[in-house]
């Protein structure tokens, strides 16, 4: 089923390019959703059903809706075809160069096509599906980081509530 991989990889890339290239913010947001969907399909091809489905459920289904909502409500106009300031240009060059270096290093350091991933031991759990295994891991081995993340999210939620609450006079 390699041709499916190529189809979805192409979809992901086209979506990604679309985000950058499009001048209309709504079109950009849609390209991003397309890219997310392609990514989710790639995950599912790796039998990582939970990750793939969560990718759609959380990113494509919830977060991007809010993005789109804000874009539409604020009615952000099309980006003008203006010249980039030197600083932005310089920063982007730095980012691109470092990313390319990173990719090149990763590719040259690892044997492409020959390296093997370490074997995964099947987790003991009530079921065999990846959901069971991820759940087992999260709530036994990694219970502490999970709690930390939860507290972090709670803090940010409380922060938002405090910030958005109007002063009582």
């Amino acid at each position: 089923m390699t041709f499916l991989f190529f189809i979805f990889a192409a979809l992901t890339l086209i979506g990604g390019i679309g985000v950058v290239v499009n001048r209309n913010p709504v079109t950009s947001a849609f390209s991003m959703i397309v890219s997310f969907l392609g990514l989710a399909a790639l995950f599912i091809q790796l039998n990582a059903y939970l990750v793939g489905v969560l990718q759609v459920l959380v990113y494509a289904g919830a977060i991007m809706v809010l993005f789109l909502f804000i874009i539409m409500l604020l009615d952000i106009p099309k980006a003008e075809n203006k010249r980039f300031p030197v600083f932005t240009l310089g920063a982007s060059v730095v980012v691109v160069v470092s990313f390319v270096t990173l990719v090149i290093t990763v590719i040259t350091k690892s044997g492409v096509g020959t390296a093997k991933l370490p074997a995964i031991e099947a987790q003991k759990g009530p079921g065999q599906s990846d959901v069971h295994q991820i759940g087992e891991l999260l709530f036994s081995t990694y219970w502490f980081p999970v709690q930390i993340v939860a507290v972090l999210l709670l803090v940010s939620t409380v922060g938002v509530v405090v910030l958005s609450k109007r002063e009582l006079k």
Binding site: Y49, V53, L57, A60, G61, V65, L68, S129
Partner: protein, 359 residues
Amino acid sequence: MDWYIILAATIKIVVFVFLVTLPLVAMSVWAERRVSAAIQDRVGPNRVGPAGLLQPVADGIKFLLKEDFTPNHVRKSFYWLAPALTMIPSLLTCAVIPFGSQLFGEKMVIADLDVGPLFVFAVASLTVYGIVLAGWASNSKYPFLGSVRSTSQMISYEISLGLSIVPLLMIYGELNLGRIVMEQAQNGWALLPLWGEGLSVKGWLLAIPLFISFIVFTTSMFAETNRLPFDLPECETELVAGYHTEYSSMKFALFFLGEYAAMIIGSGLAVTLFFGGWSLPFGWLTPESIDAEVPFWHGLIHIGVFFAKVILFIIFFIAVRWTLPRFRYDQLMKLGWVVFFELALANVILTALLLMWLK
């Protein structure tokens, strides 16, 4: 082997989605009109074909032949994309719903995923885009307000919808819809634990959180599918026709049918999760295990039972529509965020406690 799988999947997709679900959509439009007429002491469409059964065909022809008008002020590409985006996710969710046990040794589900309910929610959450786009691309104020309403409503209720079935998944310890149904077939439906292992103190105690989940799930589903009493996105008195005000002809029909398709899939999911899917009550004609051979005519009966249950649920949908008045928008939001969200969370904790205690 490969070809065999692809062929079987194709046949299942074609038969289940295009030959069963789509006609069922059309029939539920007909049923909606006839049942609502009966509730209001009227007769309803009874001219086309016997008892008006061909009315959907006539409607379809009308929609196809009408002028497909694109207003001048819309954002064309998105305007065209929106109706498709409401219809496609609704049909995609058919993939994981088990609509029968087995036929010719082939499981009667298109994709036997291990994350069934999650997949349904993930794909259903994409329906929002069709509505958002319709409102935004129409470039006029009523559709826009309608789509804003609809979107916030759907996002809000998605949370309680997702949380409401967590207790059920905890109790069955399973995310595969096929195996959940099997479990219910052998040990009592989630809401009717009257046979097998369900007929015990444990089964009855666990039915309490399941009942709460069922109420939260069903109500959230009404909100998700924009049905009355939660049909604020298209409430005529305030918003003309909501997000599809600017649409005509087949594009309008797609919104219309997408909504009904979502309703059918929702009913299918509710039946699968809470009413034992394709199984008959009291363990009649239930196969020994998930992989056991099922006689041909048992398989047929199972499929029939599933659709009978779905149709009953659709009629419930329709009856509720003509019973309850429309909510006010702040009431709707309050119900979603203050009542159902908390109720669903508390229900999860209750289930966890019960499970711990009963172990």
